[in-house]
């Protein structure tokens, strides 16, 4: 039943491709999102990037997008359709679109393809990603300063490297301030279910956490924090409007500058497939204004952000794995390959990583 529904929905989504009037001299840039653009989270931020492209490049480009495209075989059709509709550059914004993009890119060698968060490239297929873990280190430091009980609640979706990397970076940040800092982790096995996220937040607060971190997309957890007069961090978008007294800062994605530079390159004819992993220094990962905290914590957070923007990596040794075996030697920096495949916890996390 659910499969059938998803298939139906994709068809509906595919039929409702939003496109402006075609013009021969315009470059058509297209996006494929896995969620609805109204999620006020991941897909929403990508779409904000698309709108920035429209604004920056004006009538030199026209854009189109497909939303709610499920990962898997349906994605093939979505990309192929956009390629046939004369899209010159196509951005696939979800990890699960990887194989579909590889396949369709081979079929349409003249179309430029870009894939977010994946690892397969091609002659006309580039990849891009953002180092969200950099921001999570700062969140960890703030949490350790602001938590009275030394215990944070962490709501997470699925045990993929990106999420595990985030947890590890958070705890490293927290322990740099308070070596005894603890974190309780709840997996909700969903990217998007506001009700469940709220319930998880309540459970974590009830069990003694006084600060909440999330790697899920909705504002629900922060609203619970607001109600209970505790603190938390926004995710993907600045959620200060939902939690004016609870949000300490928010880890936001800024894809606009990257999209503008790539579409510009496509316009100039200088586009080449690339492999970039953008961080705080590139402006792709941004922390919303630091609020609801004393000045010294704010100063510390700002200093750390600056340090990371200057090229310092939160995964710099000495770091041990969860079981105590050494991972990074003093001063050693984790290489990108290890980070992108991260499937282990660092020391200080009590949770057992689901496999």
């Amino acid at each position: 039943m659910k499969k059938l529904l998803i298939a139906l929905m994709t068809t509906v989504a595919a039929l409702s491709v939003v496109a402006t009037a075609e013009a021969a001299d315009k470059l058509k840039a297209c996006w494929v999102y896995t969620g609805p653009i109204g999620d006020f989270g991941y897909s929403y931020q990508h779409d904000q990037g698309r709108l920035q492209v429209e604004k920056a490049l004006g009538d030199k480009v026209e854009t189109a997008y497909l939303e709610n495209v499920s990962e898997g075989p349906d994605a093939d059709r979505a990309f192929e359709r956009l390629a046939r509709e004369k899209c010159k550059i196509i951005f696939g914004t979800s990890f699960g679109f990887m194989d579909a993009e590889v396949k369709v890119a081979k079929k349409f060698p003249k179309v430029m393809f870009e894939h977010a968060t994946g690892y397969k490239t091609g002659k006309n297929l580039g990849i891009y990603n953002a180092r969200f873990y950099e921001g999570r280190y700062v969140l960890g430091q703030i949490a350790a300063k602001e938590s009275k009980k030394g215990l944070a609640g962490y709501i997470v979706s699925f045990p993929i490297p990106e999420v595990v990397m985030g947890i590890n970076s958070f705890i490293l940040g927290a322990q740099s301030v308070n070596p005894d800092f603890k974190v309780k982790i709840v997996w909700v096995n969903s990217w998007f279910d506001p009700g469940k996220e709220a319930d998880a937040a309540k459970a974590l607060f009830d069990q003694g956490a006084d600060i909440i971190v999330q790697h899920t997309d909705s504002t629900a957890a922060l609203q619970v924090a607001e109600e209970r007069k505790l603190h938390g961090f926004g995710q993907s978008s600045d959620m200060i409007k939902f939690a004016p007294n609870a949000q300490l800062t928010a880890l936001t994605d800024e894809w606009g500058p990257y999209y503008i530079s790539r579409v510009k390159a496509a316009l100039d004819g200088t586009w080449k497939p690339d492999n970039v992993w953008l961080g705080i220094k590139d402006g792709a990962v941004k922390l919303a204004p630091f609020t609801n905290m004393p000045d010294d914590v704010k100063a510390m957070a700002e200093a750390t952000t600056k340090k990371i923007a200057g090229g310092w990596n939160p995964f710099t040794g000495p770091v041990s794995k969860q079981d105590g075996t050494p991972w990074l030697k003093d001063g050693e920096v984790a290489d990108d390959g290890t980070l992108l495949g991260m499937n282990f916890y660092v020391k200080g996390i009590d949770d057992k990583l689901p496999q």
């Binding site: 709840v186 309540k202 459970a203 974590l204």
Partner: protein, 306 residues
């Protein structure tokens, strides 16, 4: 002690939308109509409730709007299946798809806007009684509505003449028609009642549970409500039990994880579904009773022969 009360409160909040939507659908199915559009009506109620609350600043107007939007949306289903005798399964499914899409379109400008929240009941003196005060006198208004609604539906279906008539239509619309009962009219009212309930459940989501609007925020709760009706073998009190068992295990597994119980989280996540199925299978193991409770003409279109 505090933690137990908090857990109970969380369970009630999680169970309430399921209970309301399922009770509404139960009445619809008792009249012999299968409306698979619960998810769609729920999400329409959620966006309608949020929108009205956000624009007027009053969560009560929001809640009322959620009920009205749900009822109006179900009217579409009623006209299609009852007046035009279309296939109920197909029409219900398309109602869900339409609701998910339409709500997203209507809600575009509400995304990222903080809405209004329906305040919890607060009776001076009573709500601050230790232990029971918060549980009995300090919950959100929709919680009380859901309990009252369940009691009312039980009384209506099994203690009133109209309820008996409604059930007889569900069992055999041709016989009821032959007796001169206005089958279509009854079914219209039942479907609209179901829509209003689903709308109210949606309003609970966007005005109480998580006061915000985002696309797909019902996240499958309409389907769970539908399943609850079947597993509860069309008995209101079992729907109540089912919704609360589901809620309890749902919240329990989150607590188990936070507590650090070394069980795979994927298994814990599936527990609410498993537990609800097991319990409801156990309480409905009497085959004859179950057969008796199943509306015999469920899902069959009815075209009166002049």
């Amino acid at each position: 002690m505090d933690i137990t009360i908090n857990i109970l409160l969380t369970i009630a909040t999680a169970a309430t939308p399921l209970l309301i939507a399922a009770i509404g659908e139960l009445v619809v199915e008792r009249s012999g109509v299968l409306n698979l559009g619960v998810e769609g009506m729920m999400i329409m109620g959620a966006v309608g409730g949020f929108g009205a609350g956000y624009l007027t600043g009053s969560p009560w107007i929001g809640l009322l709007a959620a009920i009205i939007v749900g009822a109006l949306f179900s009217l579409l289903f009623a006209v299609m299946t009852l007046s035009l005798a279309t296939n109920q399964v197909a029409t219900g499914l398309s109602l869900t798809l339409l609701g998910l899409g339409l709500s997203g379109m209507i809600g575009t400008s509400f995304v990222g806007q903080p809405g209004v929240r329906l305040p919890n009941l607060d009776i001076p003196g009573l709500s601050s009684i230790p232990v029971v005060g918060k549980l009995i006198f300090g919950q959100d208004p929709v919680f009380y509505i859901s309990i009252a609604l369940t009691a009312a539906v039980m009384w209506f279906l099994f203690r009133t003449r109209t309820g008996l008539t409604l059930r007889s239509i569900g069992d055999s619309h041709t016989s009821a028609h032959a007796l001169g009962i206005k089958v279509i009219r009854y079914r219209y009212l039942a479907v609209i009642f179901g829509g209003a309930c689903a709308g109210l459940a949606g309003g609970h989501l966007s005005l109480v549970y998580t006061p915000q609007w985002v696309e797909n925020m019902s996240a499958g709760r309409g389907w769970i409500a539908l399943a609850l009706v079947v597993f509860a073998s069309w008995r209101p009190w079992r729907v109540l039990a089912g919704a609360y068992i589901f809620g309890a295990v749902w919240i329990g597994q989150l607590h188990a994880q936070a507590f650090g119980i070394p069980v795979p989280s994927q298994f814990l996540s599936s527990l609410p579904y498993l537990a609800t199925i097991v319990v409801l299978v156990l309480i409905s193991r009497n085959k004859r009773l179950t057969m008796m409770n199943t509306p015999a003409s469920l899902g069959q279109p009815f075209v009166p022969d002049r």
